[in-house]
Symmetry: C2
Subunit: 349 residues, 2 copies
């Protein structure tokens, strides 16, 4: 778990630590990665971008300052990090991860708990995108999750998918449960799924996952016309609706209109604060909201549902589900709509 890398405060896990020891010498159960690219969490990048008014140099300077001070990339405001790709430089003899020097990998654990040193001052990054070219090194622990990059896919494409691979896996699990429960009960009511932020990375994968898990009706909700057109063009959702997720009444009206009823499962994939109440209102009694956005407020969700007397189950989107990397990469390979959205996004970056 990397407890020995925690500098302060003592006794916490690496993710909760203020500062990690990022020294390059590895313990027998650790692995050192030579980093080639960081992928900042969307909520974190947005916060930095807005704080500095779109000044890329200032964004870069703050990322360098954070990593230097903390020994890891963890935005102190959002608490979130991101992930990285690189090459295995040295694998300890007792590491259970099964990695060999020279393998190209992506980390599936957050940067918030990964010891990291940046060596090039991020000289090749303009501070204007979540994708950060970077020379440096990072340390993986025994319980870290890591994926060897597939040979058939562009590494940046794989990284973009792996960054959000927990979302489709958990969406599939939750939707499957509703489908199975209805089948067991002989209830022919279709399972309805809404994905808020359906044109984004986690959103488009979640739409594909919901359909594959047996959702009979799906809607992707997006905030702007360009995203509506892009999502509608690839056919990943039965319908696409335009609404501001921060407006509870507008969001719930859009979802209910598109699905013919409130959603059984609502998946929140937008990285802006204030979407909790709309998601709850858009969900049927007995339904489930899955919050994947790091901008989610625990108190707003808990008190919002109570205040609305809404009998909904609310899940904290866990980024880890067994088999999540393979499942998400499989969706990318088999769903041309997912691939089209990802490739368009990378081309625009």
């Amino acid at each position: 778990m990397g407890l020995h890398r925690v500098v302060e405060p003592a006794g916490v896990l690496p993710q909760a630590a203020w500062r990690l020891d990022a020294r390059p010498e590895i313990a027998p159960n650790e692995v050192r990665i030579r980093v080639e690219r960081l992928n900042l969490d969307a909520a974190s990048f947005r916060q930095l971008w807005e704080k500095h008014g779109g000044d890329g140099d200032a964004v870069r300077a703050e990322v360098l300052q954070i990593v230097s001070a903390r020994g890891k990339m963890q935005n102190p405001v959002t608490g979130s990090g991101g992930m990285l790709i690189g090459t295995v430089e040295q694998a300890g003899r007792r590491s259970p991860l099964g990695l060999q020097a020279g393998e190209r990998v992506a980390t599936l654990v957050s940067l918030t708990l990964t010891p990291l040193v940046i060596l090039d001052g991020l000289a090749r990054w303009d501070g204007r995108s979540e994708q950060v070219p970077c020379d440096g090194y990072a340390i993986l622990f025994a319980r870290s999750i890591v994926a060897v990059l597939p040979a058939d896919l562009d590494p940046q494409l794989s990284l973009a998918v792996l960054d959000v691979c927990g979302a489709p896996a958990l969406t599939a699990r939750v939707v499957s449960r509703y489908v199975a429960d209805r089948q067991r009960a002989g209830d022919p009511t279709p399972v309805r799924v809404a994905v808020i932020g359906g044109a984004g990375k986690s959103g488009s994968l979640s739409l594909a996952a919901a359909r594959r898990a047996g959702a009979a009706r799906t809607v992707g909700v997006v905030p702007v016309v360009a995203e509506r057109d892009a999502l509608a063009a690839v056919g990943l959702a039965d319908s696409v609706a335009l609404a501001d997720a921060r407006d509870p009444v507008a969001l719930s009206t859009a979802v209910t209109t598109a699905l013919g009823a409130p959603a059984d499962v609502t998946v929140v994939c937008v990285d802006v604060p204030g979407c909790e109440h709309g998601a709850v209102l858009a969900t049927a009694d007995g339904g489930t909201v899955v919050f994947f956005s790091m901008a989610t407020s625990f108190a707003a969700a808990a008190l919002g549902a109570e205040g609305l007397a809404a009998d909904v189950t609310m899940l904290v989107g866990n980024g880890y589900v067994p088999g999540h990397a393979e499942f998400a990469l499989g969706l990318l390979r088999s769903e041309s709509g997912v691939r089209a959205l990802f490739e368009a996004r990378l081309a625009a970056d």
Copy 2:
């Protein structure tokens, strides 16, 4: 939903509003309550208490300032509120709540979305307890949840139970699901439940609810010897363990030792920050953590589970479950151990 009472910002629900319109004139679907007592949320009171170094006058002044500025009692740091008891003064002719003037009631929706005016300057409160004697009025909306206080119980006892009645109801629902799934699968493995903060209000009710729902082994975890002895004396849990919930390794070791294995369901009822990682570590793969503490950090929970590669379901504790008030009051009436802990707590206040 009370949208017409939102002053700023426009378009949000009352819980998310910075300021509510607390005028006493009611709309046809509203109810006005004459308040006799507020019950501040534990996380909110603790924050105020610590901020002011235990100066009760300063705590009182800040509560007055908050209610005056916001038209509701919502701690700006914790985001949480509490609840109230009072008497129905006027019920609008189109209110669906079925209340009559003169009935004594407790609100089961949070103070964070309840228009409130304090009329007596909280002159009868010393600022040193969560229980706040108060003359004033509050407004209920059509979708508000309210309970008429039972005649057979002391009102303060009812209020203390109703304040946390979502926790035992949701705990029972989650535990029942594990019990039913194992029965259906013919799996004789006992369902194990850990309640962190087991001697508190929501904790003791959750322990009783877990046992009633079929948990075969339960442990209550508490931070101090006095609580350990009090919880052990009333027999609500199969075992009682002493551990600091903010220390992940200590907490998970205590739970696993007491239950003979990690918990299938871990219920977090302690109102201090930093318990997310320990709760995840204490829970078995395939298990569920239910976070009832308003001090829970969404990001710490999400990233902590991912960082530990922990396949656990994490629930945001929704304060509303249908039938929650009756269920919790029933536990108080039938479980002498619950009642003993509640009465001791009220006597100490």
